[in-house]
């Protein structure tokens, strides 16, 4: 068992809408270990990006409660000037859209040098250039000296994402947060970027939080998975357990609703209703209950908690014990390869 790199305890991030605060991240507890990829999965509005931004301290107006321990330090309490020394160095982030994450008016080289300069103020100009080119090389840019002088618009989407990654790893981070790093990319390019992230993890022994809605990407990359729904974590397990033995109704429904290449279903499972908006979140009881109305309300807990049902496998609420899919959707699926 490797040590914890990041320990999140009871983190609640609330946003003010009109005169009230609404929790987008609600009592989340998580650990990220060294040299592991923890995937956070959920649909839009589940709070997964809000969680990532909370760790990075990028919510300036939000009310944050709870603790985010990085080593001995609590990031929630930390003043901005100290946080700035950590951000981009120990903890850094790969953003979703490489086009808007890069400055269109600066050359790629200068954008990389900027982060190096920020955290190594004594480094010389030549040294920074050497480092920048080395980084470009590391993220698999074919001709780093040429790309060093180019602007973002001259590069393809995959190349741009590599630049964003180069910037994120410039100061050798111990924790890397990747927020939907491949959503904007084609499958073949996606594969290259995922390979790169995996390689970097092994190289730097960093912990990686991979935020995505794509369960295929999760199955390829993650060591452990946390599934989020409506601001809460509803299930945590290692990837093998999650795919073969998911318990929470939401996880099961998600797994059932994706069309895959290996299995042709005549009908995809549809989760009834919609993800509730921040203001309309049910604040009491099981938040997923409205979307599985055929499960009687007694089966849910009044105050759903996380239950450890096997080592490292946590599920929220007791409704999973009684959950079944309503007839039809499962029967008419057929395996092509069988």
């Amino acid at each position: 068992m490797s040590e914890d790199l990041l320990k999140i305890e009871n983190l609640t991030t609330s946003f003010r809408i009109d005169d009230d605060y609404y929790a987008a991240v609600d009592h989340v507890s998580l650990r990220v270990r060294k040299n592991e990829i923890l995937a956070i999965v959920g649909e839009s509005g589940s709070g997964k990006s809000a969680l990532a931004y909370s760790i990075m301290g990028l919510h300036t107006r939000a009310k944050m409660e709870g603790h985010i321990y990085y080593g001995e330090q609590d990031l929630v309490e930390m003043p901005a000037n100290q946080l700035n020394k950590l951000r981009g160095k120990d903890i850094s982030m790969i953003f979703q859209d490489p086009l808007s994450a890069l400055n269109p008016l600066m050359t790629v080289g200068r954008q990389i040098e900027e982060v190096i300069l920020l955290h190594q103020p004594t480094s010389g100009k030549a040294e920074r250039k050497r480092q920048a080119i080395e980084l470009l090389n590391k993220v698999g840019i074919p001709r780093p000296e040429v790309t060093y002088l180019q602007y973002p618009h001259e590069l393809s989407g995959g190349m741009r994402q590599r630049i964003v990654i180069a910037i994120a790893i410039a100061n050798g981070p111990k924790l890397l947060i990747a927020d939907e790093p491949t959503t904007a990319l084609d499958v073949t390019i996606q594969l290259q970027i995922l390979d790169l992230i995996r390689e970097l993890k092994n190289d730097m022994e960093a912990g990686i939080i991979l935020i995505t809605h794509d369960l295929g990407v999760v199955a390829e990359m993650a060591d452990r998975v946390a599934v989020m729904y409506a601001g809460q974590i509803v299930e945590i397990a290692d990837i093998y357990t999650l795919v073969s033995n998911a318990k929470h109704p939401y996880t099961k429904s998600l797994l059932n609703s994706i069309p895959t290449v290996s299995e042709v279903k005549s009908k995809l499972h549809v989760i009834q209703g919609i993800v509730p908006s921040l203001k309309n979140l049910p604040r009491e009881g099981c938040r997923f209950a409205p979307r599985i109305p055929w499960i009687e309300s007694e089966k849910h807990e009044a105050h759903p908690e996380m239950h450890e049902i096997a080592e490292g496998h946590f599920v929220r609420c007791t409704c999973y014990k009684h959950f079944y899919f309503p007839a039809q959707s499962e029967e008419d699926s057929e395996h092509v390869n069988s």
């Binding site: 839009s44 084609d186 073949t188 990407v217 199955a219 993650a222 073969s244 069309p259 993800v275």
Partner: protein, 309 residues
């Protein structure tokens, strides 16, 4: 019977240069593609960004002018007809982004009624009745009539888009990445729904997507495009069970596998495909990096192989 027949379709854009802005070259977005869609079928058009798949779709409905070739809809040539009559009532489109394809200032009732107003002379009462029917058909409540698009979720908006597309009872619908902006669970909803209305209204779909999982789920016949040309065409089984072109093999190998226990084999498999790709690249692509014309390998399966091979 084939409802759409495309022969040697070309969509070229001029590149201008020099002092007099003379045409120096062309971007060959679509370069000599043949496609036949049978009535009631779902035809999947796959490709990476920049492959020309969207240009194809837009050319069929008349949003792009064509530089050569012919598009026949039910035996009638529509490729060179200018103006509005071309994207007539029989061909409709479902757009990718349900957020930008609906006018935010219009009520849902008006959005859905617009094609009716353009093509059918209905009295206000008839029109209202028809819009309510359509709302019911796509599973939206009657109150939606007076609401604005922002009051709906992504999946519901896409249904509004679908209601608008089926308002004139078209025969062919071009769906350009209809679910890529949606969450998985909503995606499932829209895909199921598209299949239902297809059966109900006997629709033909030209389904454009980069997501091979969805293509496999939805389509009977599949065409794979690369740089404006067809790489491979065949039934879903032809393409997924026995891909012949190295480009197709690589594309299929790149799809993330949902089973983590296969990770090791998957990595191994991809490495071998990647090696094959590098080795065989010369044989499968010409000196410009383009693929060769299609050659039949079976009755349904066509592959872009070099002339001699």
């Amino acid at each position: 019977m084939s409802i759409l027949e495309i022969k040697d379709l070309k969509v070229h854009y001029p590149i201008r240069g020099g002092i007099f802005r003379t045409v120096v070259d062309h971007v060959r977005a679509v370069d000599g593609v043949n496609m036949t869609i049978k009535a009631g079928q779902t035809y999947g058009l796959v490709g990476e960004s920049g492959s020309g798949k969207t240009t194809m779709g837009r050319a069929v409905i008349g949003l792009n002018h064509i530089s050569g070739g012919s598009i026949k809809f039910e035996g009638k040539e529509i490729g060179h007809v200018k103006g509005r009559s071309r994207f007539g009532r029989d061909i409709q489109m479902i757009f990718q982004d349900p957020y930008s394809s609906l006018n935010p200032k219009k009520r849902v009732g008006d959005i859905i009624a617009e094609p009716l107003r353009n093509f059918e002379k209905l009295s206000p009462q008839e029109e209202k009745k028809r819009v309510h029917e359509l709302l019911e058909q796509v599973g939206l409540s009657p109150e939606s009539f007076l609401k604005y698009p922002y009051q709906f979720s992504g999946g519901q908006r896409q249904r509004i888009g679908i209601a608008r597309a089926i308002a004139l009872r078209p025969k062919l619908i071009i769906a350009d990445e209809p679910v890529s902006a949606l969450d998985v669970s909503v995606q499932a909803q829209v895909l199921n729904f598209m299949r239902e209305i297809q059966r109900e209204l006997n629709l033909t779909f030209l389904f454009i997507s980069h997501d091979l999982g969805i293509i496999r789920h939805m389509c009977d016949k599949i065409g794979i495009m690369y740089k404006g040309r067809y790489v491979e065409e065949g039934t879903a089984n032809d393409i997924f069970e026995s891909p012949q072109h190295i480009y197709t093999k690589r594309l299929i190998a790149a799809i993330p596998d949902i089973d983590p226990r296969q990770r090791e084999q998957q990595v191994e498999f991809r490495r071998s495909v990647q090696e094959e790709y590098k080795e065989a690249h010369q044989r499968y692509f010409d000196e410009n990096g383009l693929v060769y014309p299609l050659k039949p390998v079976s009755d349904t399966h066509f592959v872009a192989l070099p002339q001699k091979g």
